[in-house]
Subunit: 199 residues, 2 copies
């Protein structure tokens, strides 16, 4: 038995959601049809409104339905530190750490093989933002991947001699991690970055 | 930092999906906004079309956008066996086993504490369907839960003396299961339902 066309189309469409495979999509579709049609219609409306209404903040390039986002407009934040991340999701992650400076969101990382150079990921806009600001430090919080490291290095080089500190987030053991389970590169970084214990 | 209103509303709306908590909903919302807005808009449309267009088959009560579903209309199926299940999802599960008879979909199971009696779950319609058909066997494939068992028993009693066999799906060890991991009730059913090995 195959699903009827409308149900099949719904199942296929649900598979664009991250982490949703065929089985999960089926369960989602049938459960909504059986148990929560009004919730599903509200979801359809929320999707339409968000996809059409949410753009990018002119200043930090994070997701925002206003020209300039609430975070950029907030006068209580520290204007001396800029945190550069690869994507809007990273803003929420860094924000969660208690960081209260400003942000700039790249469009991912440099990826020459995919034809993604500095322009493609928004580095000219980053430089404009830095020039217009009064930052004393730029924290390069791109991902600790080969591409993220290369992107951080590239930006640090562009910032050299501009009278501000370009810093990189530390690598090391994740909290709660076990030495025997962590990869060798991480452990090496963790040892190289060791600090004296202050008693 | 809080999400902007449209994003927050989207995250809340995504949580109606089964198995989707706050963190997953956030990841879904941000990923769609960043990477697949056209897919998200197609999903919105598919949701609207399915919720408004899919009803229940008049004959088997499973999900269908036609008055009578493809499965009920299919002349090649076995008209002598009716399989009674608790919900539309179960139809797909049973169908997957190779069963090619007819179906009837209840609205769940009897649940007196929730005020769900025979009428609420569609038992009068089941009896009408059976009276109109030419079934020699009715397989009661409600779930092997207390409520599913009670529902199967209740229906079996209603069918007594009507000249057809009311059968119940077998309980036992799931394939690939381990005796020491399965619950005692299942194992007891499995032993009670043992069969001679045919060599
Ligand atoms: Zn902003
Ligand atoms: Zn049908």
């Amino acid at each position: 038995m195959s699903f009827s066309p409308l149900i099949r189309h719904l199942i296929d469409s649900l598979r664009i959601l991250p982490g949703v495979g065929q089985k999960t999509a089926q369960r989602m579709a049938l459960q909504m049809l059986e148990r929560d049609r009004s919730g599903a219609l509200r979801l359809a409306q929320a999707l339409t409104q968000a996809m059409n209404g949410v753009g990018h903040c002119k200043q930090c390039r994070s997701l925002s339905e206003d020209d300039v986002c609430q975070l950029c407009l907030d006068p209580r934040r520290d204007d001396s530190v800029l945190c550069v991340v690869e994507g809007p999701m990273d803003v929420y992650a860094v924000e969660h750490t208690g960081f209260r400076g400003r942000y700039f969101v790249l469009k991912g990382h440099l990826s020459p093989l995919d034809g993604l150079g500095p322009e493609a990921i928004g580095i000219p806009e980053l430089l404009t933002r830095i020039a217009a600001g009064s930052f004393s430090e730029v924290i390069l919080a791109t991902n600790p991947t080969v591409e993220g490291e290369a992107t951080a290095h590239y930006i640090a080089q562009l910032l050299a001699g501009k009278g501000l500190i370009a810093s990189r987030i530390a690598h090391g053991m994740p909290l709660g991690g076990e030495l025997e389970l962590v990869d060798g590169g991480t452990l090496a970084h963790s040892i190289a970055g060791r600090r004296p214990i202050l008693l």
